[in-house]
C-alpha cells in the first residue's frame, strides 16, 4: 500500500473507532433503560401505575403484597431537600470564597481538600454518620433513634458538597476578569463586585452545580441506607426514620425471587429513579449550555 493510502486508512479507522465508543456509551444507557423497562413493567400487569406511585404502604412480602412507593418517594425527597438546604448555601459560599477571596495558597489547599472529600467512599461517610452523627442527633433532640431523615440529610450534604463546590467554583473562575475590573473601576466594592457581577454572571453554572449535587444525593445508596433507619413509612418530620428509593432496591434485591412481583416492583423503582435523575441531569445540562453560550 502507498503511504498516502495507508495514512488515509489509519485516519478512517481512528475516526470510526472514536465514533463507535461515542455511540456505545449512548447505546449502553438505552440498553439499561430497556432492561429496566422489561423487568419492571411486568409489575403493572397486576398493579395500576397510580397505586404503585401513590400507594401509602410498602409491604412487599406480606400476603397479599402491597407495592405503594409513596413513603419511599417522600423519604428520598425529604432527605434530598434536607441535604440541599445544607449543602447549597455552604457549597456556593465556599465556591465564591475559593474563587474570589482566598489567597493562592489557601485556595490550592481548599481545592485539594474538597477533592479529597469527593474521594472518600460512601460507605465510610455512612459509617461516620452512623457512629458519630446518629448518637449525637439522638441525644440532642432526645429521640428514640438517631437514624433519621435529618441524619441522612447531613451525611448526604457532605457528599453533595464536593460536586457543588468544584463545579460552581469553575463557573465563578470562568467569569471574565474584565467584568470585575469594569465593576471595580466604577467604584464597586469587592463585595458588590462579587455578589452583583461575578455571582450573577456565573449563575447558570451555579444552577448546574446545584442540580448535579442533588443528582448525586438522589442516587446515593450506601451511606443513606446506613443512617436513615430504613422505615418505609410516610414521614411527618425530619426527626423520623425514613427509607429512600435507592436503599429499598439495595436492601431487598437479595431477598426477592427473580421474576416475581417483588422483583419487578424493585425494577419499577429503578425506572422511577432513572426518570428522576434523567430530569435533573437534563435541567443541569440546559443551564451548563446556557452558561457556555
Amino acid at each position: 500500500m502507498k503511504p498516502a493510502r495507508r495514512r488515509k486508512l489509519k485516519e478512517w479507522l481512528i475516526e470510526k473507532a472514536i465514533l463507535l465508543s461515542g455511540v456505545f456509551s449512548v447505546v449502553f444507557v438505552l440498553l439499561i433503560f430497556l432492561f429496566l423497562l422489561r423487568e419492571g413493567l411486568s409489575l403493572f400487569r397486576g398493579e395500576s401505575v397510580l397505586d404503585f406511585l401513590l400507594g401509602k404502604s410498602w409491604y412487599p412480602i406480606s400476603s397479599p403484597p402491597r407495592f405503594g412507593i409513596l413513603p419511599l418517594i417522600l423519604g428520598s425527597v425529604l432527605v434530598t431537600l434536607g441535604a440541599a438546604a445544607i449543602s447549597v448555601p455552604i457549597g456556593i459560599a465556599a465556591a465564591l470564597f475559593i474563587a474570589e477571596i482566598a489567597p493562592a495558597r489557601l485556595k490550592e489547599a481548599l481545592k485539594a481538600g474538597i477533592e479529597l472529600l469527593a474521594a472518600i467512599p460512601s460507605v465510610v461517610i455512612g459509617f461516620i454518620g452512623m457512629i458519630t452523627l446518629g448518637p449525637w442527633i439522638k441525644n440532642l433532640f432526645n429521640i428514640p433513634t438517631g437514624l433519621t431523615a435529618l441524619t441522612g440529610s447531613v451525611t448526604l450534604a457532605f457528599m453533595a458538597m464536593p460536586t457543588i463546590v468544584s463545579i460552581a467554583e469553575d463557573a465563578v473562575t470562568a467569569v471574565p476578569r474584565q467584568y470585575r475590573e469594569a465593576a471595580i473601576a466604577m467604584g464597586a466594592t469587592k463585595w458588590q463586585t462579587t455578589w452583583r457581577i461575578v455571582a450573577r454572571a456565573a449563575r447558570p453554572g451555579m444552577v448546574a452545580a446545584v442540580m448535579l449535587g442533588i443528582g448525586r444525593v438522589i442516587g446515593e445508596t450506601m451511606a443513606v441506607m446506613m443512617v436513615t433507619g430504613n422505615a418505609a413509612m410516610i414521614p411527618t418530620g425530619m426527626l423520623q426514620p425514613v427509607r429512600t428509593l435507592t436503599a429499598t432496591i439495595a436492601a431487598e434485591m437479595g431477598e426477592s425471587v427473580q421474576g416475581g412481583a417483588h422483583y419487578a416492583a424493585l425494577f419499577a423503582i429503578g425506572i422511577v429513579l432513572f426518570i428522576i435523575t434523567f430530569l435533573i441531569n437534563g435541567v443541569a445540562d440546559l443551564f451548563l449550555h446556557r452558561s457556555r453560550r
Partner: protein
C-alpha cells in the same frame, strides 16, 4: 485667558511592580477641562500612570507607589475613599467591556450600586449619558436589549455612557480606539472634544496622530520616564527632545 486650575497635581511619583520600576519621578499637573494625552511605546509606563489616577493600580499584585497624587488638592491615597475616587475618576478601557445585561442596566449599574432606586432619576441619567456619548439616537428604541448585541464602536460609547451616568469629574481613556475601525474612532474623538467642556480628560494612546488631533497638551513617556511635556501643537511641530522627535516621526515605536 484665565489660568486653568490644576485638576490633578502629581509630584515625585514612583511606581514599582516588585523589583521592576514602572514609573520614575513623575511630576506634572493636569488642568481642568483639558484633554491631556500621553503617548509613548509599549512598556513606557503610560498605562501605569493612568491606573494610578483612579488607584486601579492597587489591584496589581506587588505594586508599590511613592510620591503624591492630589485631585483638587486632596491626596487620593490618604484623603479619599477609594470607591468614591473611582466614581469621580472614571475609566474607559481599550476593549469595550459591557456587562452581560441590557443597555439600560449597564448604564444604571453604577447608580444602583450607590443605592439610587428612583426610576425617574435612573431614566434621566440614561438619556443624559447616552446623549453625551452620542449613542442615544442609535439605541433609544432598544434600551432593554442585551448590550452584547451592539457593535464594537457602540459598545465603547456605551462604556463611556456608563461612566458618564455617575457624573464623574475626570475621564480616563486607555487606548480607547485601539480595537475600533476609523469611523468609530472618529466618532469617539469627536465625542471627547465635546466632553472636555464638562470634564477633564486624560487620554493614553498608541496612536500618535490621535494625540495630535484631540490633545491640548501631550506628554511623551519612554522607559518609565516622562521625556517631554508641552502644548500638543508645539510638541508635534517643534519637539525639544531628540527622542520625542524620533518617536513622533516614526523612527522607532
Amino acid at each position: 485667558m484665565v489660568a486653568a486650575a490644576a485638576k490633578f497635581a502629581i509630584s515625585g511619583l514612583h511606581v514599582h511592580y516588585g523589583k521592576i520600576c514602572a514609573l520614575r519621578d513623575l511630576n506634572l499637573d493636569i488642568r481642568a477641562h483639558e484633554i491631556f494625552t500621553v503617548i509613548g511605546p509599549a512598556n513606557s509606563g503610560k498605562s501605569t500612570f493612568l491606573n494610578c489616577l483612579n488607584r486601579l493600580i492597587d489591584l496589581a499584585p506587588a505594586s508599590r507607589l511613592s510620591g503624591e497624587i492630589r485631585l483638587d488638592g486632596v491626596d487620593i491615597r490618604a484623603g479619599l475613599e477609594v470607591e468614591s475616587l473611582r466614581r469621580k475618576v472614571g475609566i474607559v478601557f481599550a476593549l469595550p467591556l459591557p456587562l452581560p445585561i441590557s443597555i439600560y442596566e449597564n448604564i444604571v449599574y453604577g447608580l444602583r450600586m450607590q443605592g439610587i432606586r428612583d426610576a425617574a432619576v435612573l431614566d434621566e441619567a440614561v438619556e443624559r449619558s447616552l446623549r453625551e456619548s452620542y449613542l442615544w439616537d442609535e439605541v433609544k428604541d432598544r434600551l432593554r436589549s442585551p448590550a452584547m448585541n451592539l457593535s464594537g464602536g457602540q459598545q465603547q460609547r456605551l462604556c463611556m455612557a456608563r461612566i458618564l451616568a455617575g457624573r464623574p469629574d475626570v475621564l480616563l481613556f486607555d487606548e480607547p480606539t485601539s480595537g475600533l475601525d476609523p469611523i468609530s474612532t472618529a466618532r469617539i474623538e469627536e465625542t471627547m472634544l465635546v466632553l472636555k467642556e464638562k470634564y477633564t480628560i486624560v487620554l493614553v494612546t498608541n496612536n500618535v496622530a490621535q494625540a495630535a488631533r484631540v490633545g491640548d497638551r501631550t506628554a511623551f513617556f519612554l522607559m518609565s520616564e516622562m521625556v517631554e511635556l508641552s502644548e500638543t501643537s508645539r510638541m508635534f511641530t517643534t519637539p525639544v527632545d531628540q527622542r520625542t522627535s524620533d518617536y513622533i516621526t516614526g523612527k522607532f515605536g
